[in-house]
């Protein structure tokens, strides 16, 4: 088992005919992901990378049968609309890669999805990968390896960084999830921790947070009462100056909230092992796994 996606997952790509959407769709197919349909309004009837393209998500579902997951590359001005179109067809897992969606649009999306049983990952995220089974996103597949450590991160490139370190040390991953760097995201780190906690094939969790907001503190609250599996945490942005947005719209220290120090303290108090250096995530995980007899 794993979380969110596996080798059976049937994937639709929204924005399949775009430059990045196309390039990444090919990489997903090469990895072994079951891409069963694409959607680009006005391009219905075409084929891209051997996959039939439809005008609407509804058409894709009608023609191709059940679709479990949608991967969205639609440009920012239309991305919120694309998410809601996937939701309207009851696609259970919606993964939105798009960066730069207006926050007000995401506020409406979040409200619309609130009472549904659908899971939105992202936006502004690298997607989800279950190594050797299914890659639904933009991550470099070659650095991932199958195993029993779950990885969750706000940043995409820090997923690759952490996983590269793990893989080099022979530590494989169950599933890796980038939840996204925007102020409003569909699924929080706390929710992904809960999924990993309930996944019998995940033994330990690497969590990568960053400055801004209170998502790591909320994750710490959950860890405290619920998670027995070991957690290694790194928080990016210890050296970031306050009041400046560090790339991610959500990564800004406002007053005393959102600092790396406050997040590390909350996670440490909840029992997570804090890794101060981004270069030591793999080594720290290795020593924790050894300590717990998990390797």
């Amino acid at each position: 088992m794993s979380i969110l996606v596996n080798k059976e997952t049937r994937v639709l790509v929204q924005g399949i005919t775009g430059r990045e959407g196309g390039f990444q769709t090919e990489r997903c197919i090469e990895y072994g992901t079951k891409v069963v349909a694409g959607c680009t309004p006005g391009r219905g009837g075409e084929t891209a990378y051997g996959v039939p393209v439809f005008n609407t998500v509804a058409d894709a579902v009608e023609a191709q049968g059940p679709i479990d997951c949608s991967l969205i590359f639609v440009p920012a001005p239309g991305a919120a609309d694309a998410i809601l179109e996937a939701a309207n067809s009851q696609i259970k897992v919606i993964i939105c890669i798009t960066e730069g969606i207006p926050t007000i649009d995401m506020m409406r999306v979040k409200r619309a999805l609130r009472d549904s049983n659908l899971t939105l990952i992202g936006p502004n995220c690298p997607g989800v990968i279950t190594p050797s089974e299914c890659r639904v996103g933009i991550m470099p597949g070659s650095v991932f390896s199958k195993g029993r450590v779950g990885v969750v991160s706000r940043s995409g490139t820090l997923v690759y960084e952490a996983v590269d370190q793990l893989t080099r040390l022979g530590i494989g991953q169950s599933t890796c999830v980038g939840v996204g760097g925007d102020p409003i995201i569909g699924t929080t780190q706390r929710q992904v921790l809960e999924m990993f906690n309930n996944d019998p094939e995940t033994d330990a969790i690497v969590m990568i947070g960053e400055i801004g907001g209170t998502a790591e503190q909320e994750a710490a609250e959950y860890i405290k009462g619920n998670v027995k599996k070991p957690i290694v945490a790194f928080i990016a942005g210890s050296t970031a100056p306050p009041g400046r947005r560090m790339g991610h719209a959500g990564a800004i220290i406002a007053g005393n909230t959102g600092t790396a120090a406050s997040k590390k303290a909350a996670l440490a108090a909840a029992g997570a092992v804090i890794c101060d250096s981004p270069a030591e995530i793999g080594a720290t995980t290795l020593s924790v796994l050894k300590e717990r007899g998990l390797i």
Binding site: P140, G156, L158, Y160, R244, A249
Partner: protein, 389 residues
């Protein structure tokens, strides 16, 4: 994006928020004319994108037009240092000349997004005129919040809850609720990340008025707000940051160290800064090159970094996902030719199309020290900067 106080007030006034009468002036003479138009005593307020202006001497009271002119003469052209500008301060280029308002009470009101729920909130405080972070730390019970359902939008009962909590009762109740509705409508329609009125005042003659206003706009929504974009004042921004944006690098923040960083991804860019610090160095900037997959963008990034005279070494840290290492390598090679780079470069490359990128770099005349991982890259960059310094 930020705007000046006078622009914020003009924008809010169009949505019905009551503000004092006044206008902006760029010369003492204009300030005099505005004060004459207003009639009575006025206040002359320096217009810069930073708070705490009063403490730095940027806000002056004037009894008549002569005094307004004299105040403007003092303030326009001064370098105003406030707790928010840093020690270098900001040059004042314009002043807002406004009628003086006799104040009975000062409050705080803001619309923002609560990131833990993803819903907008209206936040009010009975301790106006203070930074809200300070109120939260010292007097949290003074802060009241109402969460707004974005599907239904702002409802008058939500406004009444907040108004009663802030003591805006009697004749003030209706105008207070109307003001909140206007503020919320503005916040949503104009894609704000923060719309703050501080202080919101009750006047001696029992009116409510936005005495100061601060608006931050969501850069991601700029494409649909040409009117807001036209208000941008590049004089208020760091020149290198402005140049970075013009050259397609939206995520550059200048810092004080001597190791220039080119990284893909905001998280990795922050972590790279952290690694440099842990290795005993200081980053010169935050720079996320994002995933444009355009070699020219790499050239531009290196051009911006090397025009900072403090930079003694460059650390390029690319972990290709959507970004491709071969395209980054093409950019480094082009930058080396175009810019005649003469600071040591440490490159850590990994991920998508790595082999091709490394082949290209090795076949080129670029002198860069390769590093296998982030820790090694940081150590090598710190060592190179020490030699260069």
């Amino acid at each position: 994006m930020k705007v000046h106080e006078y622009q914020a007030k003009e924008l809010l006034a169009k949505y019905g928020v009551p503000v004092p009468n006044g206008r902006v002036a760029t010369t003492p003479r204009e300030a005099r004319e505005i004060a004459l138009e207003l009639g009575g005593p006025s206040v002359v307020k320096a217009q810069i994108h930073a708070g705490g202006r009063g403490k730095g001497g940027g806000i002056k009271l004037a009894a008549n037009a002569d005094e307004a002119e004299a105040a403007a003469k003092q303030v326009i052209g001064m370098t105003l240092v406030t707790p928010q500008t840093g020690p270098e301060g900001r040059l004042v280029r314009s002043v807002l000349v406004e009628e003086q308002t006799p104040v009975e009470r000062e409050l705080y009101l803001a619309a923002l997004i609560d990131s833990s729920t993803g819903f907008p909130v209206l936040m009010g405080s009975s301790a106006g005129g203070m930074e809200i972070e300070e109120v939260a730390a010292t007097n949290p019970e003074a802060i009241h919040r109402v969460s707004i359902d974005p599907a239904a939008g702002f409802q008058p009962y939500e406004g009444r809850q907040l108004a009663f909590a802030l003591g805006l009762t009697g004749d003030l109740l209706r105008p207070a609720v109307a003001l909140m509705a206007d503020l919320y409508r503005f916040f949503v329609e104009k894609d704000c990340s923060l719309a703050e009125i501080n202080p919101l005042v009750v006047t001696k003659d029992n009116r409510i008025l936005a005495l100061d206003a601060k608006l931050n706009f969501d850069d991601n929504a700029a494409f649909r707000h040409a009117d807001i974009l036209a208000l941008r004042d590049k004089d208020e921004e760091d020149p290198l940051e402005v140049r970075a944006q013009e050259e397609g690098i939206s995520n550059y923040v200048k810092l004080d160290g001597n190791i220039g960083c080119v990284v893909n991804g905001a998280g990795l860019a922050m972590a790279t800064m952290d690694a440099i610090k842990l290795a005993g160095g200081e980053p010169a900037n935050f720079l996320d090159i994002a995933t444009a997959n355009d070699p020219q963008r790499v050239v531009n990034a290196l051009g911006i970094i090397t025009s900072d005279p403090n930079v003694k070494a460059i650390l390029i840290n690319i972990f290709g996902g959507m970004a491709r290492v071969d395209i980054i390598a093409e950019g480094i090679i082009k930058a080396n030719e175009d810019l005649k780079l003469n600071v040591p470069i440490v490159a850590r490359l990994a991920g998508t199309n790595l082999e091709e990128g490394v082949r290209m770099l090795e076949a080129s005349s670029v002198k860069c020290e390769r590093a296998e991982d982030l820790g090694e890259a940081a150590r090598k960059a710190v060592a190179a900067a020490k030699v260069g310094a």
